[in-house]
């Protein structure tokens, strides 16, 4: 049977019956999303790798408590955000929120010109810095909605808040991000 045709719920049931191998399939299915969410929350590749590993290990240990009321991905996002928020606080006290210079980001455009590559890289670093400067709540809601393309309803389930709260929180978070990016993106535009 193709592993893609098996739902998360089925893998979870197998895992709850003691088939540890089912967890590997779940990791492979969700590792990228979780890693990227955590990475964008932390802005550090190594920290993100370590945190993502903790997220999956926590999920494995707590799988017995997963009742299947929500999607497995929703449950996993919640664990990831808890871990990332905690790690973020630790990092903030350690580095005073220093944004590392990332050399690991792949370039999406094949063979870009040197100038274009530099500009894109600069934009990405600026956006990442802006995300890091947001509060954990604001960064969380923006990353879930805009990076992971999670629906309002699911964001509400992940954050365990009403949908109305998600809307207002998202509005506030975007305004904060815009303010962070304004000096870079919109200074020239306003000057024009």
């Amino acid at each position: 049977m193709d592993s893609d045709s098996i739902s998360d719920a089925e893998y979870v049931q197998k895992l709850q019956r003691g088939q540890a191998d089912a967890f590997e399939a779940l990791i492979r299915r969700h590792e990228k999303a979780i890693f990227n969410l955590v990475y964008r929350m932390l802005g550090d590749y190594d920290e993100a790798a370590e945190t993502a590993q903790e997220v999956f290990l926590s999920a494995y240990r707590a799988i017995g408590q997963f009742r299947g009321d929500a999607n497995f991905s929703t449950w996993l996002y919640r664990i990831a955000l808890n871990h990332a928020t905690t790690r973020r606080k630790t990092m903030n006290t350690r580095h005073q929120r220093q944004v590392p210079i990332e050399n690991t980001e792949p370039l999406s455009d094949p063979q870009p010109g040197p100038a274009e590559s530099m500009e894109k890289k600069e934009i990405r670093e600026t956006v990442q810095r802006a995300l890091n400067s947001l509060s954990a709540d604001d960064a969380t809601v923006i990353l879930l909605r805009d990076l992971q393309d999670v629906s309002y309803d699911e964001v509400a389930r992940v954050l365990e808040v009403p949908v109305g709260t998600v809307k207002s929180r998202l509005h506030r978070a975007r305004q904060a991000l815009k303010s962070e990016l304004a000096s870079y993106f919109y200074a020239g535009r306003k000057a024009v």
Binding site: A20, F23, E24, I27, R28, E31, K32, F35, N36, Y39, R40, Y45, A48, A49, A52, Q53, F56, L57, Y60, R61, T104, E105, P106, L107, S108, I123, R124, V127, Q128, L131, I142, L143, R145, D146, L147, D149, Y152, K167, L170, H171, R174, Q175, L177, K178, L181, A182, F185, Y186
Partner: protein, 369 residues
């Protein structure tokens, strides 16, 4: 729609989360309002910047590393789990364990002589209680003793006959004949006792009696009294239909009597009272029994405080006869209020009435008959 209202809905507008009508209204305003258009474009740009952040690949071998940690965190399977559990396949472990315990219990039971003996004794008691012993069915040694007793008719005929009844049943129903809880409940081998004279019996009683501790309450629940109230054949010689028979062994503490009588003895009739310890032949005579007791002996003082409790299974139709016989044998100090309904109910249920008789010792302060 003004700018303030548009600002409220701008996030949802950009996410295309508004219904058609609201989307049209917001879009109309955004197109016409420079400020709102700029705001919308900037927010859309922010969203775009986040959305187009490059997707990062997790470290190579991330899943394998996590799984390695998962396997490390699992407790190592013991030798038992590695070797035995796979062999069990689909056998339910709990059921298997229960079956093993049950087999073990049966084997243990069969190999334990005391348990087996108890069971045999129970079976003997059950079978004996189901076949009531009648006067003319007494075993040979008992019959011989009975014959010798009737020929003697001397010292204490009442006591002797009571002994006779007890002994005869003791031989046939060894377990049922334990007159005191202090006695061993073990089944004794039923060896037929040779016919003995009254003096032999008395001597034997005197020899055995000290071993019995004086008990305040004696539980007597045996079939040896079947047909005889207080074991006195003289007074309860099988009136009409059938003798009153204790049909079932009832465990101590499980008894809830239907009716309860409290009676007081009129004369010493029991062979196993401690009276025997210190009494003389003269004291056992009816004349001595009538005499108010002023004996200062400690043994007698103890005896007077002894009460006896007996249980009788009485057929409902014999209840009145039982009551009359009881009245002839002892002074009834307390008797239950018997309603016809209870008797009828017992008859309809085809069950016997369990009658508890608390026998108080002879009140030596008052003259007896």
């Amino acid at each position: 729609m003004n700018c303030e209202e548009v600002a409220k809905h701008l996030t949802e507008y950009l996410d295309k989360n508004l219904d058609m009508a609201m989307t049209t209204r917001v879009a109309t305003h955004v197109i016409s309002c420079t400020h709102c258009r700029a705001e919308s474009n900037e927010l859309a740009d922010c969203i775009q910047q986040v959305a187009t952040l490059p997707v990062m690949e997790p470290p190579l071998g991330f899943a394998q590393r996590v799984m390695a940690h998962v396997r490390d965190s699992e407790p190592k399977a013991s030798l038992w789990q590695r070797l035995i559990v796979p062999l069990t396949g689909g056998i339910p472990v709990r059921t298997t364990a229960m079956a093993v315990i049950a087999i073990f219990a049966v084997v243990l039971y069969q190999n334990e002589p005391a348990l087996k003996q108890n069971r045999e004794a129970d079976l003997a008691l059950k079978s004996a209680s189901q076949t009531p012993i009648k006067e003319n069915e007494l075993p040979a040694p008992t019959a011989a003793r009975q014959a010798s007793e009737t020929s003697q008719k001397t010292v204490a005929p009442v006591r002797a006959s009571a002994d006779l009844a007890k002994r005869s049943n003791a031989e046939t129903l060894p377990r049922a004949s334990s007159s005191s809880p202090a006695e061993s409940p073990q089944l004794q081998p039923a060896t037929p006792a040779p016919a003995r004279t009254e003096t032999d019996i008395a001597a034997e009683e005197k020899k055995e009696a000290p071993r019995r501790p004086p008990l305040r309450v004696q539980e007597v629940t045996t079939a040896r009294d079947s047909g005889f109230i207080f074991g006195d054949r003289r007074s309860f010689i099988g009136p009409p239909p059938a003798p009153i028979v204790l049909e079932r062994p009832i465990a101590l503490g499980d008894r809830v009597a239907d009716f309860e009588f409290v009676v007081r003895r009129r004369s010493p009739q029991r062979r196993d009272t401690i009276e025997n310890l210190n009494s003389t032949e003269a004291e056992d005579s009816p004349a001595a029994a009538r005499r108010p007791s002023t004996m200062p002996s400690t043994g007698r003082a103890r005896i007077e405080s002894i009460a006896e409790i007996r249980f009788y299974d009485v057929a409902p139709e014999h209840f009145e006869i039982f009551k009359k016989e009881l009245a002839t044998e002892a002074n009834i100090e307390s008797e239950p209020k018997v309603s016809g309904k209870e008797i009828e109910a017992a008859k309809q249920a085809d069950r016997q009435l369990l009658v508890k008789v608390t026998i108080l010792p002879v009140d030596r302060a008052t003259p007896t008959r």
